[in-house]
Symmetry: C2
Subunit: 358 residues, 2 copies
DNA sequence: CTGATTTCTGGAAGCGCTTCCATTATAGCA
DNA sequence: TGCTATAATGGAAGCGCTTCCAGAAATCAG
């Protein structure tokens, strides 16, 4: 008795172009042309080759192809500093989903790098920067700490798209939601429903998203009141507890409306309002940001700004692929629209007022 | 005026082994040996080459290296059918984190494939199966639908680790938590605290995790009572609403203890208990599964079975790397331990009783 | 039925690396 | 010092593919 290799099975995957060429009675070049859909192959030859490829489940070796074409059809996604928030904030999973789906759509492969420590960064960077592996890179950003990695990517002259406005946004292509106008319209909405004293719970102001949303608030208030009352601006940290504490600081100033820079903080704020025996929206109207599913259920019914994160991911991929195909594209910023969702945490304007159209 | 290329910058990344060799006055082979840490290079030569590599930020081309070595140092992670639950259930982000961190640790690169439709599967598969791209693959499984993709990977003879017991688990290496004994100890715990009529809300029984947890329940009950009362077994679907409805079905049978196959369902069940004006744990003790952060806060204080998902990911990677290095390793299953966490949703045994040691 | 075009095809070089093999430099020992 | 054993190095082949180039085959006018 002897253990023999099952040739049938072996054949499944380890063939080369040459093998296919031999089987089809053509040259390697011709097979390559068939695989790459070059028009200059006679129809019957093409079909014969195609049949044999199919029959043998042949797929060209990825490394060889990448080496010859200088293209890997792989893009990298770098998520920095994300360990702690990666699973609490649905932003990341959503972004990831959008990007992964876009990669499927355009037949790219996605390489994922989670970078949580400086150590990781050193570890990951050579793999990312190295030629012959990635055609381009998407980096999630928004914090100071991310500048380092962005800078390195720029140095490498590797096609790059940053998601979220980076601190130094010149010289780099980035994509972000339009935080400023989103917040402006939220605050304006509160105004129109009759709020006279609108406060804000900001995100961390060492992040661009925190800065931008605060800036939106400031612009809106200035356009309405002319003057921002700094006692109505309290910094939060995007956590529920942070929102709770911020709201407690705000209550003595008796605001009648609050814009919270995230839904999670808004939920904390609502809890503080409740504990102070005040009512939402009768005493205080609240609008959040993100459209968290959890914030729209049950007793909360939070009004919010919805950002389409998977769409953001899709656009980032498209933007990157564009750059991969054409390296003459200049760095630029792309802004995506958001949507104001009104629920019970603030009063609702009659549609006629809302649109401003008679 | 003329636009000149900045040679300094250009040099950054596009050098080849040959260039380094020339600069160092040695042969290409020697440089390669230095890069790959072959011992047989004279110390001073090695240092000279190393300096030049450093100075020029040289990284060997990944594709060329992969082609020559038949090793990509990249592994694939396939998450099937996950769109809907991907961001509601923290399982996936956690698993992803564990795997990504392990990849960093072992200097592997992670390629991520989110497969939500049959179409995706067809699209993704050639990229995964293709030689010269992935050294091995991790597949998340547990549903019937995943058998197809697992089968294809087996056919390709590509190193494979399945996370979560697959339906056909012979012939494949998989890693899973030990659901059966985990549930047994949870149910036994309820018994020991005095519960006489313990019900269960199961997961979907077309998933192995649903099946295994139910089996654990059955085994525990059999060992205690001798007989499983089928009216105390209700199928859920891992959602809060599912848990709520299941509990409503259970209440007429007056159970005094419930094991829910997930925390999310347990939370739903608690809501149902509350609405029936019963109290946890005085009237009904409840133990869940997963140790969701949300279920441990506030009024819930849910007892639960904790599984260390990031650790599961780490082990999966280690298991895969082992296989990549040694293809003689036979398919096998790996079971990971869980931990019973007792909070206020059930009575607490004195430690002396809990351990069974006098 | 030619000769000039156009269409197809095969050969060969090259992508950048690893690694076997042969050769030379070095060390070890008598 | 001379001879062998060992260490260090260079040359060359090969990984599997794409693509340029030149030549063969097919097409079309005249």
């Amino acid at each position: 008795m002897k253990l023999v290799k099952n040739v049938q099975d072996q054949r499944v995957s380890n063939l080369t172009l040459d093998d296919i060429a031999r089987l089809a009675g053509v040259s390697r070049s011709t097979v390559s042309r068939v695989v790459n859909e070059h028009p200059s192959v006679k129809k019957d030859v093409r079909q014969r080759v195609l049949d044999i490829i199919e029959e043998n489940h042949f797929h060209p070796n990825a490394a060889a192809r990448t080496l010859a074409m200088q293209r890997s059809w792989t893009i990298g996604l770098i998520l920095p500093h994300s360990v702690s928030t990666f699973f609490t904030d649905p932003y990341y999973p959503n972004l990831l989903m959008g990007i992964a789906k876009a990669c499927n759509l355009y037949s790219y492969t996605l390489a994922l790098f989670l970078v949580s420590t400086k150590e990781d960064e050193e570890n990951v960077f050579p793999r990312v920067g190295r030629k012959g592996f990635l055609d381009g890179v998407i980096v999630q950003s928004g914090h100071h700490g991310d500048q380092g990695i962005i800078g390195r990517m720029i140095d490498q002259k590797i096609p790059l798209v940053v998601v979220g406005r980076p601190f130094r946004s010149d010289n780099v292509t980035y994509i972000d939601i339009d935080n400023i106008s989103a917040v402006k319209s939220a605050v304006n909405y509160l105004c129109k429903t009759g709020c006279r004293k609108i406060a804000t719970i900001t995100g961390p102001i060492d992040s661009t998203v925190g800065i931008d949303r605060l800036e939106g608030y400031r612009q809106a208030i200035r356009e309405q009141n002319g003057q921002v009352d700094e006692s109505l601006v309290v910094e939060g940290n995007f956590t529920e507890t942070g929102g709770f504490i911020a709201m407690q600081k705000l209550l003595p100033f008796k605001p009648d409306g609050v814009f919270a820079a995230s839904d999670v903080m808004a939920v904390g704020a609502m809890r503080a309002v409740e504990e102070a025996n005040l009512r939402v929206p009768e005493d205080i109207s609240i609008i959040g940001f993100d459209d968290l599913p959890a914030a729209s259920y049950g007793s909360n019914q939070l009004s919010t700004v919805r950002q389409n994160v998977p769409e953001l991911g899709l656009r980032a991929v498209e933007c990157l692929i564009e750059q991969i195909g054409d390296d003459s594209i200049a760095p630029h910023g792309v802004m995506m629209d958001t949507e104001l969702i009104i629920r019970k945490s603030c009063f609702r304007l009659a549609p006629i007022d809302q649109t401003g159209v008679k």
